[in-house]
Symmetry: C2
Subunit: 331 residues, 2 copies
């Protein structure tokens, strides 16, 4: 039986299960040059929240009553296309369906003998590429500099911190529980970490953990943590605006301290980072990540939820920080 | 009789004459290797407001009851230094004194036969360099792109717009009176201009004057005009945060809409620009500016106030937009 998950309502604030609809659909037959794909692993990511709004952005918004889509690892179960054969595994932006056809456009074959299939959604996929290319293209951290990372126990943040350590930075992470703080320090090799939920004054906490100031801030959260980080930036500091999960569910235009006085005073750079802007750099970046992975220099965690029907709940759980590392649904 | 102008109080909000003290001092005698300088032209600039605050910044704050300083053109009236002779003119950061000595550190000789002396404080000085290097190093405008400039009738903004036209951009300026709007279009060659004081909705006004969106925004003002510009930026847009005159006199931490969602959504770059960060590029930049000037491609305006005692008032008048172009005091 084939199924699809549709966007039923545009979420107001935090997404709810009632915003999604699971529906039975027919299993399509592959036409000439098409393949039939069986979904195996589905990536759920905070940025998908943005696509649920009806607004112009870097990718078109999801349509109501149409299937959602995200990064998916699928198995080729039938093929009329010479580039793919039964039993191949592919990675690409695919729809939230158990079965779907494709002409192969935008799909990359992945080798399950080189790395676990799930890794192609995480450390070797957009997650790892986001960490690596965000640092390389905008942050440009140098040995001896201080790198601050928010969402540090998350899929992207944990990789950012480890790359920072490989480069030779002092790396400090921010996360929302003592368990995460321990994990950051023990499993991800961060020099120090801050639990923002138990800290009275996040500004002072950063100052205390980063006594030489912050040179590069990799921001996955936005909001008040970004404000506090900005107060601690050194001259010529670089801020990678990679995510703003603190704001994604806001229903009103969020306000905060103005940034321009600090930008000018300290010659700071802030730049929005979208990994898809750097598609041409994916090849060398993946190679570097695979090399570090093979040398056991990159730990990564996954939270794997079972069952196609649980994709919406897994997505919603991201906003409560219920994932450890990359959140993946196994179908 | 020698005189100096001291900072008497740190201004609260808009600076007042009572924040300054004009005092008589002795005229110093140049020691070995020193020169005696007579102040001829004094540059007053909005950024000096920042140095009147007691806070860490890219240059140390002014000290209470000590002389202020700014860019000054002075005449060498006595010399014990082989590098300078009587009758030479020099440009440098000097104190607000009628006469002062110097060992020559940080001073550049200027040639009054190549350009009017005042031009070395404006179009060929930090003003022109700020416009040119801010665009070149951060904005990187390309032919056919849209360049938006705030403070467009001011010393920096008017040069920014003209350089944009030389590059081949569509250039739109924002200023605060119809007289300035006319000047921007007629004397500075802007394609179009917006009077923000008579515009109900600055956001819509920008959208209407920039039908293809804004690729580069050169910001001299900050505040609500920056907010509106950000709403109109194209993907991969660049914002040069050069000044924030709208905020300099604020006594409380100013707040506004958060920038991080827009930065991420449109892969925008915002960077604080301080011309002194690019000292190594001054030579070629000055040469380019002089070439354009000689080819009559750069118009510039000056407001010249007479009298050493009027330096504080000239500075205060900047915040009411009373200057046309570069504000200079002739001593």
């Amino acid at each position: 039986m084939n199924k699809a998950i549709l966007l039923k309502n545009r979420p107001q604030g935090k997404p709810a299960l009632s915003d999604f609809k699971i529906t039975e659909i027919e299993t399509p037959k592959p036409k000439v040059d098409e393949i039939l794909l069986k979904t195996r692993y589905v990536s759920v990511d905070p940025y998908l929240r943005g696509r649920m709004r009806d607004q112009k952005s870097y990718i078109p918004p999801f349509q109501l009553n149409k299937p959602l889509e995200s990064g998916i690892i699928a198995e080729v179960v039938a093929s009329n296309n010479n580039n793919f054969k039964e039993g191949d595994f592919v990675n690409g932006m695919l729809q939230w369906k158990k079965y779907q056809t494709s002409d192969g456009t935008g799909l990359n074959k992945v080798d399950k003998n080189k790395a676990p299939l799930k890794a192609y959604l995480g450390i070797l996929g957009l997650t790892g590429l986001t960490a690596y290319l965000g640092l390389e293209k905008i942050g440009k951290p140098k040995k001896g500099e201080t790198l601050l990372v928010s969402g540090a126990a998350g899929a992207v943040g944990s990789v950012v911190g480890q790359i920072g350590k490989i480069i030779g930075c002092r790396v400090v992470g921010i996360a929302g529980s003592d368990e995460k703080i321990n994990r950051i320090k023990k499993e991800f090799n961060f020099d120090d970490a801050i639990n923002y939920k138990t800290t009275d004054d996040i500004n002072k906490a950063i100052a205390s953990k980063c006594p030489e100031g912050v040179d590069v801030y990799f921001d996955n959260v936005g909001g008040e943590i970004l404000d506090a980080a900005m107060q601690n930036m050194n001259r010529y500091g670089r801020i990678i605006n990679c995510g703003a999960i603190a704001l994604y569910n806001k229903t009103e235009m969020p306000t905060g301290p103005r940034v321009e006085p600090l930008l000018i005073k300290n010659s700071l750079l802030m730049q929005g980072f979208i990994v898809r802007d750097f598609v041409k750099d994916f090849g060398p970046a993946q190679k570097q990540l695979a090399t570090w992975m093979a040398a056991n220099k990159l730990n990564y965690l996954e939270t794997v939820v079972e069952g196609f029907e649980n994709i919406p709940q897994a997505f919603i759980d991201l906003f409560d920080g219920k994932n450890k590392g990359k959140m993946i649904v196994e179908v």
